[in-house]
Amino acid sequence: MNLPRANPATVARIRETMSSALDWPATPIRMRYLLLSQARTGGTFLCEALSRSGMAGVPSEYLNPAAIAAMAKRLGASGGIALPQLMQELEGRRTTSNGVFGLHLHLEQLRKPLETEERILRWLERFDRIILLVRRNKLAQAVSLDRALQTKAWFQTADLRENSTAPSLVVRPATLAAHIMRLFEQETLMRRSVAALGRPALEIDYESLDSDFASLWSRVAEFLDLGPIPVASVMPDLERMRDASNDVMAERFIAILRDSDLARDPAFLRVAPTDKGERNR
């Protein structure tokens, strides 16, 4: 998967995530959990809710290269930071006072430091519980991913929405097909890893998160033994980015899949910006 190229808002958010403002005093860890997901599955939204609970660590995509770089900079490690040291620093600063530490991970983020599937599995054995977050609609996921790659916008808040213009997008059929192919492959690998680890696991999907977050939150809270935490108290400030443009991109991709001559019309490939008013939530 392509590494995300970040826009200023994303860079600022990563800096904020890695800053001391989100640190907790060092606490012995009694439970480590892993949120295993792919890009564009709602993982950041769920992490935000978990962090807001104050009972589930401060899960974030800490092994995203941009986050690693931010942490290294914060620690003054000019030559970068090795995975064991990074994890030690994170566990010392991002474990909530009840002893819970969470990590949000895309499996491919371990590919570079650990290289082999076997070493990755061994490394993952440190986690006591696993939340597997997938998106059933791979076409929508691929469109969302390609939209983020084109716009460099990976999340949205109300402020960002108010200060942004709707993006011009292009349907890139071969790229979308390749995204879908990789998303399927990654999900297979994630499932294989979860099965091999044999830890208690909760499988959830983007579609449930999107349609009924309150129910999904109850399931997650129960799985992590967080006790009853009202969903209203943890609702993130992140907004859904999907709008009519995503649907247009998906429909046109399917049309091109069945008739590639359509891809030769530049007008068909261009997706005009949608009115802000059409955006949801």
């Binding site: 059929p173 790229t175 879908i180 297979t188 899949l257 069945r258 001559d261």
Partner: protein, 265 residues
């Protein structure tokens, strides 16, 4: 060395001395530039059948190269230039027409270099671009052929089979093929445009839906009598069936709900 193709088979025949022609000056050369599962074999077999459009076989199919080269040059290691010299000399029909078919992937295999592929394409006077608009159907057809199906079946029920195995119709495999075919088509169109040569597009769908009209267009493009197309009948049987249609529908459904294609860990 043993034959690569079964004696009596269509490919064996096309690689054999029976198809060699007396040396003739070339007045028109053309390339059928194709991808797998676009109807290009039906197209070239029909062209061969006219007797006036050269012998445009799949000359850069690695098996074909082995079969033909071991017949004509037992001692010399294969390379593209002497191979092409031989073909131009012996595969031009008496009316001076030389036809050559290659899939994009075969050309890349033979030249190992995009610029050399470009130079190769530019050697021809005209280019027939054989492609398939329905890339998902193309990917399904490719998967079925690769997984122990047939590459083609002639009217006489002669089959050219792929290695035995099970067709892999999982969505990610099909989408991988779709992406590859889309990228190939883009590359091919760019190469053809760069060549500046006249091009005729022959989508599979046209060949499939109106064979004789499409062949008439091809004859016109090659400055051959259009009437040659009127007597032609498709020399290959259509392989598309319910299995293909079901695989396409299943893939489209699973794109929007991957649980339908879930693999057991």
């Amino acid at each position: 060395m043993a034959n690569v193709f079964r004696p009596g088979s269509r490919f064996h025949f096309l690689a054999s001395a029976e198809c060699d022609q007396p040396a003739t000056d070339i007045r028109l050369s053309y390339l059928v530039f194709s991808q797998q599962r676009t109807g290009s074999t039906l197209l070239t077999e029909s062209l061969v059948e006219t007797g006036q459009a050269g012998i445009p076989a799949e000359y850069l199919n690695p098996d074909f190269v082995r079969e033909l080269w071991q017949r004509v040059e037992k001692e010399r290691r294969w390379s593209l230039k002497p191979y092409m010299d031989y073909l131009r000399r012996r595969r031009t029909t008496p009316n001076g027409v030389f036809g050559f078919k290659t899939h994009f992937s075969q050309l890349e295999w033979a030249t190992k270099d995009r610029e050399r592929s470009q130079a190769f394409v530019q050697r021809f006077d005209r280019i027939i671009f054989s492609y398939r608009r329905d890339k998902l159907a193309q990917a399904v057809s490719f998967a079925l052929a690769m997984g122990g199906g047939s590459w083609f079946v002639t009217r006489d029920r002669e089959k050219r089979d792929a290695p035995t195995g099970k067709a892999d119709l999982r969505p990610h495999r099909l989408l991988k093929a779709v992406a590859a075919f889309m990228e190939q088509e883009q590359a091919q169109r760019t190469m053809i445009a760069r060549s500046g040569r006249p091009m005729l597009e022959v989508p599979y769908e046209d060949l499939d839906s109106n064979f004789n009209k499409t062949m008439r267009n091809v004859m016109n493009f090659l400055d051959l009598p259009a009437a040659l197309a009127d007597g032609l009948e498709p020399s290959l049987r259509k392989l598309r069936d319910d299995t293909s249609a079901n695989a396409i529908e299943a893939t489209l459904r699973s794109l929007r709900d991957s649980d339908l294609a879930r693999e057991q860990p």
